[in-house]
């Protein structure tokens, strides 16, 4: 019973972390939209005095459009993530899971002065819980980002042979993902570390 409660708490904590990070990002988007909308008002006042060049208007409205796109991306990812626990078992596309995990962990990485690169040219489908696969990938990305800091970007790659998600820190940086081995097992996978800066989530059945 305790294990069940602990697992449930950990899942809830993960959901909370992801939501907090995404909503914080959205507040930043809104702050930039707010400043640029305000700037357009300021520029209208300048226009009344004949002190306005049109390029300033174009620049401010362009920044608003960029932030709308950014905000849309954050909400789309958050919505995809919110639907991951809808079914306990489904076909999980590893490339999609990698992109979602990278997007959800981007702010975490940014706060540690690093970034996340993705390579989803090769992919496979596994049967399982998309929520658990994404949680595991995010967990490993966070450990790798914590270790990498300013050494360079971390990466996540989906591969078909073996059926896996590979997480890597820059060479020379080592990280230990073994604490997430039980989570990998519950997601129907195992963790394989071929080098100190590299951990693969290897799935048993394709």
């Amino acid at each position: 019973m305790d294990t069940v409660n602990t697992d449930g708490r950990e899942r809830l904590k993960f959901f909370g972390r992801v939501t907090a990070s995404a909503t914080h990002d959205l507040k930043n988007v809104l702050a930039i939209v707010n400043e640029n909308a305000g700037l357009l008002e300021d520029l209208c006042l300048l226009a009344e005095r004949g002190q306005l060049t049109p390029d300033r208007l174009t620049h401010a409205s362009g920044r608003i459009r960029e932030q709308v796109n950014r905000g849309n991306g954050i909400i789309r990812r958050l919505n995809d993530f919110a639907h991951t626990p809808d079914v306990d078992e489904t076909n999980v596309d590893l490339a999609e899971a990698a992109l979602l995990a990278a997007g959800l962990s981007a702010r975490f990485a940014q706060l540690r002065e690093t970034s996340i690169e993705t390579d989803t040219a090769s992919t496979a489908t596994v049967r399982g819980s998309k929520f658990e696969v994404v949680r595991l990938a995010c967990g490993l990305l966070e450990i790798a980002a914590d270790a990498a800091k300013t050494a360079g970007p971390v990466s996540i790659r989906s591969t078909a042979a073996p059926t896996a998600l590979e997480i890597a820190a820059p060479e020379g940086v080592s990280f230990d993902g073994s604490a997430l081995a039980p989570l990998a097992e519950s997601a129907g996978a195992s963790l394989d570390s071929s080098a100190p800066h590299h951990v693969a989530i290897v799935f048993g059945d394709a």
């Binding site: 930043n28 809104l30 707010n34 700037l39 300021d42 300048l46 920044r63 706060l111």
Partner: protein, 142 residues
Amino acid sequence: MSEKVLLIDDEPEFLESMGERLKLRDMDVDSSTNISEALDKLAAEQFDAIFLDLQMPGTNGIESLKMIKKLYPDLQVILLTGHASVEKGIEAMKLGAMDFIEKPADINVLSEKVKKAQAKKMILVEKATEERISSIITGKSW
């Protein structure tokens, strides 16, 4: 006299647009996207107020506030944050922040805070000058 403000935030688009709006309000604005660059600017120039983002890459906003207040106790620091919890607000005020504001913020409120910061700074400078003069007068054997 125009107010001199330093904006510290890791979002360049935010710095650019907010900076432009404060400049349109006749303020002298500089900005930094990271704390080490901001510390260099604080060492080189005097500012009436700084706006500091609470969550910046590689640093904790509260730790940055502590560092800045230790180096420049009279500097007026206004914290800007995406999520203003009561606990963080109290902690920041205890550490000497002048104010704690949640994003998105109203430019008129921010401008008012800068004017208050400049007035506070002037009072502190005058007080320090008076104390220096008093110490010279009382310490001198006429």
